[in-house]
Every structure is written in C-alpha cells, then in structure tokens.
C-alpha cells in the first residue's frame, strides 16, 4: 500500500499546489517541496526497514484488482532497481523545484501541479507491474510535460511542445498496440487474459510475432531515450523547455525508457532481443558518435548539452543490447550518473543564460574571472560528462564498455572512440564559456548561496557515484540477475 501512497501523495500535493497558487505564489513552492520530501522520507524508511538484499523478489509489493473483467490489476512492486530509480526521481524532483524557486513567476500553482504530476507519472512507471497500468502512467507523465513546455518554455515553446507530444504520443501508441497484442496472444494460448507482468513473462509466440511486438515497445522506448534516428524532438524540446522541465526530461523521464528496456523488453521478448542485439548495439554506437558530432557543432549551449545527452544515451542502448551483468550494471549506473551530471550541466547552462540573457556560445567566454565558483562547477561536470575516473559516469561507461567487450570486441572497440569524441565536445564547453577572451560586456554575478548549495549537492552525488558505487551495484544486483535469468530461461 505504501507504494500507492507515494503516487497519491504526489498527485494530491500537485492538486494542493494548484489550489494554493490562487492565493499565493510562494505557497505552491513550499507545498511541492514538502510533498517531495515526504515521499523521499517514506522511501528512506522503506530502505531502512527492508534493507537492500532481503532476498525477496520484490522488496515491497501491492496488488489489487482494478478492472478485473479485462484482467487489469493495480499491481505495484519495488525492487532494488526501482528503488534506485525512485531515489533519482525524487532527488532530481527536489532540485527541479529548488532551481525554479525564483525563476518561475507566472502561474506558479499550475506549474507545480504539472511538475508533481509528471513526477507522479514517472513514479508510477517505475513501479507498475501491470502493463496496462504502465501505459496509463506513461501517459500521465506525458500530458503535464506538454503543458510545462508549452506554457513556461522559451521562444519556440509551442513548436517544441507539439514536436515532443507528437513523437512520444505516436510511439507510445505503438507500444500500446504491442501491449494489446501480447495480452491477446497470452490470453488465447493460456486462456488467462491478463496484463500482469509476471504472468506475461515467458509467453509463447512465433518468432515473427515476438519481433513485431518487441518493435512496438522499442518504438516507445527508443524515441523517448532517444536513439538516433528518433532523436530529432530532443534538441528542440530540451532547449525550449523551462529549466525544471529540461531537468526532469533529461535526468529522469528519458530514464523511464532505459528502465522499460531492461524491465520489459529484455525478459518478455528474449528471442527477439537476441536476434536484434547486434542492430541494437549499432544503434547505440551511432548514437554515441553522432550525438557527439552534433554536440560539437552547436553554438547554443543548452542545445550542446542536449545533444550530449544523445551521446550518453547511446551508451545505455549499447549496454542494454550487450545483455550481460556488467553491461546492465553499467546501464543502471549511467542512468543515475547521467541524471546527475547532465542535470547539473543543464542547470549551469540555465544560470548562464539567465545572467547573460543569451544561450549563444559566441557571446560567452572568459567567464572564469567573474564567476570562478560557477566555472569550477562547470569544470567538474564537464569532466564528469567526458567520463573522468572518480566520478559516476566513468564507472558507468567502463562497465558498459567492458560488458559490451564481452559480447562483441568489435562494437566495444568502436564505441570506445566515443570517449575521445566526448572529450572533444566537452572541453569545447570550457573553452567557449569560461576560458579565452571575455566577449560579453555584461558583468555577471557568481553563484548565489542557493545555487551553490544545489550544485554542491550534485557534486557530492557524482563523486559518491564514482568513488563508492558498490551500494548502488548491490542494490541493483537482484533485479539485474532476475532480468538476465528470465531472459536466459526462456532462450534455453
């Protein structure tokens, strides 16, 4: 039941924030902050109570009938993997609220309503063990995000919000078709019509059908992640969304797709995954290299960081289709580490454009002198982004590449070129923004205390991930074993 509370609290908090926004613009901020803190505390209590390696399949589980006629249940469950995802969600959620504290001034109530409902949808996605429910939450997170971009975004926000909506909605529908297909096939072969994840595992179907259904799921996940060539909504959306929206999109929402690949695609369609794996890895490599190439060419700082996400997501896809424990652990580390590091880079980009009133790299330069603290933060996260050891992204990329090397020496070697490509575009950020001649006549302020604390916490997080990754690996291990086991069992 506690899992249901996590979601209900977020939704109720959102509603309360909206109502409170009618009287005060400050109240919604405090309400959202409190709501997320309550959720985070609940999660911590669960963690303290259950521990990480309790040996149970699910640490916490809740199952109730929802629409029994169609075999739809309200089935939520959490294991170490979902718990990590929820911690990331709440962490980034808190930061998104704090970072919008002074920046969002219009319709604060509705803003926070959307923010919390997005987070509620994401929480639901990470917990759903019923495919119908999963799709339901998948949609819940989509619509408020559409509003968030469309109302509080930058100049081209309407275009961006349409683009985002069309890409995700269309691909989501393909996934829904696949879910229905799976439901019908399972029903017709076993007589049990159900959307329940556990029961749908190991559904027998023809190879063609399996491939077809998997492609439906892939459509949704590869678009959302995104993977080249389905990435073209991303730069517009990430650039035009308000900072909090970008943060949630890049750091958490894209990770629902990575999570979906691991949780659903891998165990449900093992044969199709096996035959698709080489193409999947190629898609990953293309993402890594093409993302880096585009990032290098950008002149808009936020767009540059957006394309760097394509590069990082490439590693996730590569790891997912390498199908082994090392790679999966790497993928999970990448989900978290990218959430923190790219999130921080977006925040830095936001702070810069707020101060300089432009995102154009050519009007930046030499800013280290005026804002050394901001520069230091920039340096740390640029280095995290290019995979410097000691920070989380290195552990992630190392494990992914090592796992891939185990599956395919060739693919791993090509993907390693991405490390060089990543370096080239990442140091360009330092070059254009903080080093060189000062190109802007504007005097800028260094980070305020609030901003320093936000980024400081993220710095600590990225170093913890890089220097003490073991608790995270331990937490994810049962889930990884479970996924790989389900995958192997059916293949054999």
């Amino acid at each position: 039941m506690i899992l249901t509370y996590l979601i209900i609290i977020l939704m109720a908090g959102g509603a309360a924030a909206w109502i409170a926004g009618k009287w005060s613009s400050l109240l919604p901020r405090y309400i959202s902050l409190a709501t997320l803190l309550i959720d985070a505390v609940i999660l911590l209590i669960v963690l303290a109570h259950e521990g990480l390696n309790s040996g149970k399949i699910w640490v916490v589980e809740y199952n109730a009938a929802w629409i029994p006629r169609f075999g739809v249940s309200f089935h939520l469950a959490m294991d170490g993997l979902s718990m990590l995802m929820l911690f990331l969600t709440f962490f980034i959620g808190l930061i998104a609220i704090l970072i919008s504290w002074k920046e969002i001034t219009v319709k604060t109530g509705f803003f926070h309503f959307n923010l919390l409902w997005i987070l509620a949808g994401i929480t639901g996605v990470f917990l759903s063990m019923d495919l119908f429910l999963f799709y339901f939450f998948w949609e819940v997170m989509l619509i408020p995000m559409y509003f968030l971009i469309g109302i509080w975004g930058n100049e081209k926000r309407i275009y961006a919000s349409y683009k985002f909506f069309l890409f995700t909605q269309a691909s989501g529908l393909l996934m829904f078709l696949s879910i229905l297909g799976l439901y019908l096939i399972h029903g017709s072969t076993t007589g049990v019509y159900t959307f329940d994840y556990q029961q749908l595992l190991g559904t027998h179907m023809s190879a063609t059908m399996e491939m077809l259904l998997m492609c439906g799921f892939l459509a949704a996940f590869l678009v959302k992640l995104p993977v080249v060539p389905f990435h073209s909504w991303l730069p517009d959306t990430y650039t035009e969304a308000p900072l909090a929206g970008t943060l949630i999109l890049a750091s958490v929402m894209s990770k629902t797709a990575a999570y979906g690949l691991l949780r659903f695609v891998m165990p449900v369609f093992p044969h199709a995954v096996a035959s698709f794996a080489p193409f999947g890895m190629i898609l990953g490599i293309v993402g890594i290299l093409y993302g880096a190439k585009l990032a290098f060419a950008q002149t808009d700082l936020k767009r540059l960081v957006a394309y760097s996400s394509v590069n990082h997501m490439g590693f996730i896809v590569l790891g997912v289709f390498a199908v082994n424990e090392l790679a999966y652990q790497g993928v999970i580390m990448q989900i978290i580490a990218h959430g923190v590091s790219t999130g921080a880079l977006f925040i830095i980009a936001g702070q810069l454009s707020e101060r300089l009133k432009t995102r154009d790299l050519s009007s930046m330069g030499g800013l280290w002198t005026q804002a050394p603290v901001l520069g230091t933060m920039g340096l740390i996260f640029v280095m995290a982004s290019l995979g410097l050891p000691g920070m989380g992204n290195f552990i992630a990329e190392f494990l992914i590449l090592l796992g891939t090397f185990k599956s395919s020496v060739l693919f791993a070697s090509i993907a390693s070129v991405g490390l060089i490509a990543g370096t080239i575009y990442a140091v360009r950020i330092m070059q254009k923004v903080f080093f060189g001649k000062e190109n802007s006549p504007m005097k800028i302020k260094d980070l305020s205390i609030r901003e320093s604390i936000i980024l400081g916490v993220m710095v600590i997080a990225i170093f913890i991930l890089g220097l003490f990754p073991q608790p995270f690996l331990n937490s994810a291990k049962p889930a990884v074993t479970k996924i790989l086991h389900a995958n192997e069992k059916t293949v054999l």
Binding site: V228, P229, H231, S232, W233, P235, K293, L294, F296, A297, Q298, N324, E325, L326, Q329, G366, W368, T369, P372, T376, L379, M383, L388, P389, G390, F394, I395, F398, L399, L401, L402, G403, F405, K406, A412, S413, S416, V417, L419, I420, T423, I424, V427, M430, Q431, F434, F435, G436, K437, E438, L467, P469, Q470, L473, K477
Partner: protein, 625 residues
C-alpha cells in the same frame, strides 16, 4: 608501515581539497604553506618508507594496503588499494621530492599571480594523481591516476586561460593524450576478459601461464597498452602535444616533464614488463619508437628559438632514450635514467623559468645572451644541468644513466648496432642543442637586462637539484668503473634479468665513444655558437632546419588528416539532416491538409458537383463489375 603509505597520495589531495573549499579565507602564506608542506610531508613519508624498505625488506617485496572495495560486479573486482615495491618507491621518491622542490620554487615564481591559490590547488592534485598512478595495485585505479594527471595537465597548461592560445595548447594535450588513453582502456578490457582481474600482481603472475610468447592476444594487449604509454610519454606518433604544453607557467613544465606525466608511460611499461616480454614484437617496436623519437626530437630541439621549446623537445628525446632502454629489456637502466633525468630536467626548466621571468617574459634565446655574469647562480646550476643532459663524462649523473642505456642498446640480447647508432647520434645532438642553448643564453653580449636576482626560494631548489644532477649517478656505476650497483640491486626483484648477447665490442670502447661524442658535441656547439668560426647558418636558417623547427610537419599532417576533416564534418551537418526528414514529413502532411481543406470552401454548387461526380464514378464502377 603498510598502514600509512596511503598517506603519500592522500596528503596532497587533502591539501587540494582544503585549498579549493577555503581559498577565499586562507591568506597566501597559508596557501603556500599548505601546498608546499603537503608535498614535502609526502616526500618525508616516502623517505621514511624507503629507509624502512631498505633496512627490513617487506615480505613479497612490497608494502600493500587495501582501503576498500571500489567496485565488484559480474565477476570483476577492483579495490582502492596501494602497493609499494622498489619501482614504486623510486617513482614516489622522485615525484614527491622533486615535486616538493618545484612547489617551493613556485611560491616565489607565482607570488604576483592572481591565480596563486588555484595554481597550488592544481599542482597538489597533479602530484596526488601521479602518486595514485604509481602506487595503485590495480590497473583501474592506475587509470584513475592516469586520467587525473591528464586533467591536471589540461588545467595547468591552460592556467593563464585568458589567452586562447594557451587554452588551445591545453586542449591539444588533453585530447591527444586521451587518444592514447582510449587505446589503453580497450587494453584493460582485454585484460579483464582474459584474466578476470586488473590486479597487477595477479596479471603478472597469470600472463605467462595463459599466453605463450608472441601469441596474438598478448601482442594486441601490449600494443593497446603501448598506445596509452605513447600518448602520456609524448612518443611518436603522439608527441605533438608536448612542445605546445609550454604555454603553462614554467614550474608546471618542470613538473610535467620531470617528475610526473611524461614518465607515466615509462612507468606503465616497466610495471607491466612481463606482459611486454610476452610480446617481443611490441618490445622491439618500443625500442624502435624510442630511437626514432629521440632523433626526431633532437633535431627539432636544435632549431628552436624559444628556450622552453628546446627543453620540451629535449624531454621528448630523453624519454625516447628511456623507451629505447625499455625496448631492449634494460628495465633498470630506463628507470635510472628517468630519475636522473627528473633531476636535471626539473633543474633546467626551473632555471629557464627564472630567466624568462626576470627577463620580462622573454622566451627567445636570440634576444638573451651574456647572462653568465648577471645571474651567476642560475648560470652555474643551469650549466650543471646542461652538462648532465649532455652526459659529460664521469662528473655528471647524466653520463652514468645514459651510458648504461647506450651500452645495453648494443649489448642486450635484443639490442642491435642500429639502435646503438641512433642513440649515439642522439647523444651528439643532445650536447649540441644543449650547449647551443647555453652559449646563446649565457655567453656573448647581453641583450636584455634582468629585473633583479631570483630570491632564495627559487635558488635553493636549483642548488639542490644541481647537486643531485652531479652526484646522483654515483649510486650506479658501470661494471668496469666500480662495484657500486645500489640502484639496479634495489630494482632487481621487480625486473627480469637482462640477457646480454654473446658478441659485441668491449664495454670500455663504447664508453669512450660516448664520452668523446658528448665532449665533441659541446666543442662543436662552442665553434658554431660562441666562437662562430663555423657558420651556424645551416642550423639557424636552412629550409631543412625550418622543417625540424616545425616538428617535422606532424602538426601540419594531423591538422590536414584529422582536425580539418572533423571540423568540416561537424559544419556540413550542423542542423542535423535527420531532423530535415521529420520536418519535411510535417510539411507534407501540412501541405496535403491544405490541399484537402480547399475542397471545403462552403459553396453549395461545388459540393453538389463533387457529389454527382462521385456518384457517377461509383455507378460506373458498379456497372462494370
């Protein structure tokens, strides 16, 4: 003892952290004390550890200590763990001791710089990373130090960030070395897949059992690791970053060239000697690369105008000697030369730094001259450093370390006369370019007046290093000169024995030849650049010398081969052609929408007409069926 070797890298790291977090409240004096003190304390611990190590050799030849398990998953484990054996001890000693002297020197050198605190933060991190590199017991932690060194070199070369040229040099260093690093990390993957671990001890014990000598996998693994070493140690073909790395403050150059960074590649190969021995082809390649690099860089050093660039090329060339030694299996000789080179090269860079600083940032040697009398301490110490670099016989340490390498390049079972010839030609070049530099800077007429004399914080390190550049060689004498072999004795347990070939010239002849070459080079330099009895035009002005001056066109070639095509590639598709596909899809939908919406024009007769036309069409179809 084993419990506190971790302090050696951690002390500078703590100092770095304190500096970064509190630099606004700590006064300059405090920053200096922290920066110098932490490294000096590390040096002290290293020396205590060294004394203990020598008096009571630890079991297994190494102190080890595990701090915690870094990561363990999918059958792969890596610890944060340190291991100090004789090789590590030598490296730790050089890094902390020479490092501390450079830090001390920097206190005065940087005293008027706005970035004083930032400088010491980066320097401390640099030293700490390098210490982690040499102390780690596994290759993953070594890689952490390895990348940390790369990061710090990036930050320090670009230290004066306002000049875009400095930042360019910094990025070049970072990216070029990272190309090497990427080879190395793929090498690490290969090792993990083959041996299931990156623990150095285990790897060295397992490798001969799993790989036969010359097996393809062993060769590939060795090649990949070599890639990393070539990048960091600035050897062919990845040497291009080092001459530009002069952009940083002079103490940085001293640190990069002498104590840290460029010697990382030498360390890696020496550390993993077993793996390289299993790949004889790669070992031979290392020797050839070393020989080629030392010649190419030697010619370039001879033609430079910038004092620091001479020294930069000289470093590339001297590391070439170390690679040559590694390649012929003269492991201990390579490490010996590393240590002696650290002494005299740090000395030369610090000396050059003093000159440039006091001559108002004048880098061009042709605008110097006559400084012998104006800066006597700098002159004397620089002369000693130069003599050591030129391997002046018997009295300088450089002679003993280089003589060993030359001797083994001929006498080793896998040596050859060609390698020896390259080495001897390089020796001639070395004394020629070194004394060209000395004659141009210190002799002749004075062209620029120094501001003032360097203070004690700058001269004391120079004097200490000068002393070491002279007497450092006496701990390891050639066999025919005396029975002192302290250095090779110390490293004996770490390295496999060197097998000499049966037939070669007697050792004394080789020694006399190299001694004559060194002295001859100096005399030639004297004739060319001081007495000017011979025309130095060939070296200063010919087209060939311009080619050497430009670093043999490597920069030009890489620019044409890699940089320009990459920039072109990124520019042609700035807007992402894939997005064009989707937007044209959107346009097509929009267009067809507009087309169809024309039909809905609200005119009744139009609707009736279309309806009738449709009816007729349908009827025709139905009747025809």
């Amino acid at each position: 003892m084993t419990t506190f070797i971790w302090l050696i890298p951690v002390l500078p790291l703590i100092s770095f952290l304190i500096n970064v977090l509190f630099n606004r409240v700590i006064p300059r004096r405090g920053i200096a004390l922290l920066g110098v003190g932490s490294v000096a304390l590390s040096a002290l611990i290293t020396i205590i550890a060294g004394i203990k190590f020598l008096s009571i050799p630890p079991a297994g030849g190494a102190y080890t200590t595990t701090i915690y398990t870094w990561l363990s998953t999918g059958g792969f484990t890596a610890d944060i763990a340190f291991r100090m054996d004789a090789l590590t001890l030598v490296f730790c000693f050089v890094i902390t001791f020479v490092g501390a002297l450079i830090h001390l020197y920097s206190v005065e050198f940087m005293k008027d710089d706005d970035g004083f605190a930032r400088f010491f933060a980066y320097m401390n991190l640099f030293v700490s990373s390098m210490l982690i590199l040499v102390l780690s017991n596994n290759l993953l932690l070594l890689y952490l130090g390895w990348e940390g060194v790369g990061l710090c070199s990036y930050l320090l070369i670009g230290f004066w960030y306002k000049d875009p040229a400095n930042d360019y040099a910094a990025r070049k260093a970072f990216i070029v070395t990272r190309i090497g690093d990427t080879f190395m990390i793929v090498g690490l993957f290969l090792l993990v897949i083959t041996f299931g671990t990156l623990n150095i001890d285990t790897l060295l014990r397992q490798a001969p059992l799993v790989w036969s000598s010359g097996s393809p996998v062993a060769v590939i693994a060795a090649l990949l690791l070599l890639g990393g070493a070539l990048g960091k140690s600035a050897q062919l073909p990845l040497q291009t970053w080092l001459p530009d790395a002069m952009a940083g403050p002079s103490p940085v150059s001293a640190l990069i060239h002498a104590a840290t960074m460029v010697t990382a590649g030498v360390y890696l190969i020496a550390r993993l000697n077993v793996l390289f021995i299993l790949a004889p082809e790669v070992l031979a390649a290392i020797a050839i690369i070393g020989a080629a690099t030392l010649l190419i860089a030697g010619f370039s050093a001879l033609t430079q105008h910038d004092l620091k660039r001479v020294l930069a090329y000289s470093t590339i060339s001297q590391i070439g000697y170390m690679f040559l030694a590694l390649g012929v299996g003269a492991w201990s000789a390579a490490i010996f030369h590393f240590m002696i080179h650290a002494f005299f090269k740090a000395l030369l860079f610090l000396g050059a730094g003093s000159i440039i600083l006091l001559l108002h940032e004048e880098h061009d040697m042709h605008k110097m001259g006559g400084l012998r009398k104006k800066m006597p301490i700098v002159f004397l110490t620089f002369l000693i450093g130069g003599a050591s670099l030129s391997a002046l016989p018997l009295i300088t340490a450089g002679f003993y370390s280089k003589d060993q390498i030359l001797w083994f390049s001929l006498a080793s079972g896998i040596g050859s006369k060609w390698l020896w010839l390259a080495g001897i030609a390089g020796a001639l070049l070395t004394s020629l370019y070194t004394f060209r530099m000395i004659f141009l800077v210190f002799f002749g007429e004075a062209k620029t007046e120094p501001k003032h004399q360097p203070g004690p914080l700058m001269t004391i390190p120079l004097i200490i290093l000068a002393a070491l550049s002279l007497i450092g060689g006496f701990i390891e004498l050639p066999h025919n000169l005396g029975p002192v072999h302290l250095f090779s004795r110390l490293l004996e347990p770490v390295f496999p024995a060197l097998i000499l070939s049966e037939s070669h010239a007697p050792e004394w002849i080789i020694q006399v030849i190299s001694a004559l070459i060194a002295i001859g080079g100096i005399y030639l330099a004297y004739l060319l650049f001081n007495k000017k009895t011979l025309s130095s035009n060939v070296i200063e002005k010919s087209r060939l010398s311009h080619f050497f001056y430009q670093g043999w066109g490597f920069d030009w070639l890489y620019n044409k081969l890699f940089v320009l095509p990459l920039v072109w590639l990124s520019q042609i598709d700035k807007k992402d052609f894939i997005d064009k596909f989707y937007s044209s899809l959107a346009h097509a939908v929009n267009y067809s929408g507009t087309l169809l919406s024309r039909t809905q024009n609200g005119k009744l007769r139009w609707y009736v007409m279309v309806m009738v036309a449709g009816l007729i069409l349908l009827l025709t179809i139905m009747l025809n069926l």
